[in-house]
């Protein structure tokens, strides 16, 4: 796909660049990079065809941040003063390498670049050789291919064709919206320095657009949901539990900010009991949810961990649904927390719902719900209400299974799903068992953060080198981190108030 662009743009670009190189610029380049940038800028403005523009942009793109510099140095003359070897060498390298990587950025690169220093090293990189340029070219396709979801090769080919279309569209787009580059172009240029800039974005968007929010939604949400359902199931009011759960999604999906108006009868009394527990409790639970991934008997949980680790940007949805389903803490916590769990239940199928609830509240809610859920287990016999627990519990497991299949990148048999579900089931049951036993071992009836920490230590997640706080910092998004680790914010109160 680069070829057809190259065929059109390359000669022109080459010609222009040659022209630039040959012309002796009268203006003395105050800055080394500006000369080169100016040349590129001239190239940008001279060609009238869009292809040319794209080609130049490509070349500019190749300079990673060079494109940014182009806009800024637009008014500078073409770098006739090519005495500096760097720009000329760079330009020559561009000529050499332009055909190979002609993939264009969708956003126009014509932006004033504040950091010329960035341009300089990037140019130097390009000057080092075409090899470097080639390598990154190969990488993105493979990474992209790897990043694509499980679909078969055929789908991957389709995606590439889609990508081609998008590339075509991207060119005109970039022409039309010169001013849109901004951060996007900067970031994209940063990411795609010498490689195919357009490809990753266009390919990523259709394939994975809806995935990240889903992934976020599952991790803690599902776990909390499961635990909560466990506790709910064990609660005497099994039926009443079912109805709130069923109604939650519909109610809370649209009403993000509305407090969880249907506190679960069985849960509320026990829940309030645990309200005083500070965030660290929740943290432990949240951490535990993440800790699961590393040591799960089922691979799905492992993928979970990967997901958690990868998704540094937390979609609060996941937490929010959890919080709302857990609800119990609505009285104390902000109302928005309520929205979480039912949203989470639906989040699996729905698109990410814009969450209005503040993440900290959600995290607190989710964490607190986790603790009361697990704490109530030792008290109540598990025999009662196993069926109502089963449905929502399985719903939560299903989400994990979907994650697992997503990361497997290949189609999975139904039996495999069943096995994964079995493993997850056993894993979580064992987990709750352990927590219960740990609490009892310390002569308590409540699961406390220390129990969770002990569990994670046994799992090998927490060692003498790695403490819980380290894990929190590593894997939780910023909003939750703020909750769990007291940070002093200028002008704000410190959370959590221990």
């Amino acid at each position: 796909m680069a070829d057809f662009y190259n065929s059109d743009s390359e000669p022109t670009t080459r010609t222009l660049l040659r022209r630039v190189l040959d012309t002796a610029d009268s203006r003395t380049p105050r800055r080394l990079r500006s000369a080169g940038a100016g040349a590129q800028r001239a190239l940008l403005e001279t060609p009238s065809s869009r292809r040319l523009n794209s080609g130049t942009k490509t070349t500019a793109k190749q300079h990673s941040h060079g494109a940014r510099s182009i806009g800024r140095l637009a008014h500078f003359q073409v770098s006739g003063n090519l005495e500096e070897q760097t720009p000329r060498t760079l330009l020559k390298n561009i000529l050499l390498t332009a055909p190979e990587s002609s993939i264009l950025m969708p956003e126009t690169v014509v932006k004033p670049v504040p950091a010329l220093q960035v341009v300089q090293p990037s140019r130097k990189e390009s000057s080092r050789g075409s090899l470097e340029l080639q390598l990154p070219e190969f990488e993105p396709p493979t990474t992209l291919a790897a990043g694509l979801p499980a679909p078969s090769r055929k789908k991957q080919r389709l995606r590439l064709s889609v990508f081609q279309q998008e590339v075509d569209q991207g060119l005109p787009h970039s022409q039309e919206h010169p001013g849109n580059a901004d951060a996007s172009s900067l970031t994209s240029s940063l990411n795609l320095s010498f490689a195919t800039p357009l490809q990753p974005q266009s390919v990523k968007r259709p394939g994975l657009a809806r995935r990240p929010p889903l992934r976020r939604a599952v991790d803690v949400g599902a776990l909390l949901q499961d635990l909560r359902d466990d506790s709910l199931a064990s609660a005497p009011s099994g039926d009443s539990l079912k109805t709130p759960i069923a109604t939650l999604p519909t109610d809370t999906v649209l009403e993000d900010t509305q407090p969880f108006s249907q506190p679960l009868v069985g849960c509320s009394p026990s829940v309030h009991h645990f309200l005083p527990h500070p965030f660290p409790t929740g943290t432990e639970d949240a951490e535990r949810a993440m800790g699961h991934g590393t040591q799960s008997s089922g691979p799905g949980l492992q993928n979970h961990k990967i997901i958690e680790a990868e998704d540094s940007q937390g979609t609060v949805e996941a937490e929010e649904p959890e919080g709302s389903s857990e609800d119990e803490n609505t009285s104390d916590r902000p109302a928005e927390l309520a929205a979480s769990t039912p949203e989470f239940l639906q989040a699996k199928q729905l698109h990410p719902i814009p969450e209005t609830a503040p993440p900290p509240g959600v995290a607190v809610l989710s964490s607190e719900t986790l603790e009361p859920a697990s704490a109530r287990l030792p008290r109540k016999p598990r025999t009662a209400g196993s069926r109502p627990r089963q449905d929502s519990y399985k719903a939560g497991l299903n989400h994990y299974i979907k994650l697992f299949s997503f990361y497997a990148k290949m189609p999975m048999e139904r039996k495999a799903f069943e096995m994964v579900e079995k493993c997850l089931d056993k894993y979580f049951q064992q987990l709750c068992n352990d927590l219960e036993v740990f609490a009892a071992h310390a002569g308590r009836k409540t699961v406390r953060p220390e129990d969770l920490e002990l569990l994670m230590r046994r799992q090998g997640l927490i060692t003498d080198q790695v403490s819980l706080y380290v894990l929190v910092e590593r894997h939780l998004p910023l909003e939750y981190r703020q909750l769990l680790i007291p940070c002093a914010f200028s002008g704000n109160s410190v959370f959590p108030a221990l």
């Binding site: 740990f438 310390a442 129990d451 046994r458």
Partner: protein, 135 residues
Amino acid sequence: MFVEGKEALNPAQKRLKAAVHYTVGRLCEEVALDKEMQFSKQTIAAISELTFRQCENFAKDLEMFARHAKRSTINTEDVKLLARRSNSLLKYITEKSDEIAQCNLERKARKKKKSEDGNKSSRETAEAEAVDSED
């Protein structure tokens, strides 16, 4: 690969490891005679290495459990917590611990009845504690 790890230990640990290896060898011999199947040397070495490392893990876990219960002494409860994974093992250990506790009680009662002397009772309690700590 089968002889690894001994170099990093101090002499006491090396002796301990050798003792474990010897014991494992004897046990494997018995099993071999019983099942009429031979054990290769590497197998025995692997088992003994495994046992040794697992004992290290056990010790750390026991310490963690004791600390979790805010105690400075490892208790039978800690050991039971450690063995809860395997049901049969847990049952066995529970039975054993009950036996031992019962023995201790009996011994205590007997000896207290026999001697009203403070010295003797203190000695017995010390023995009982020692026995308990052995559990």
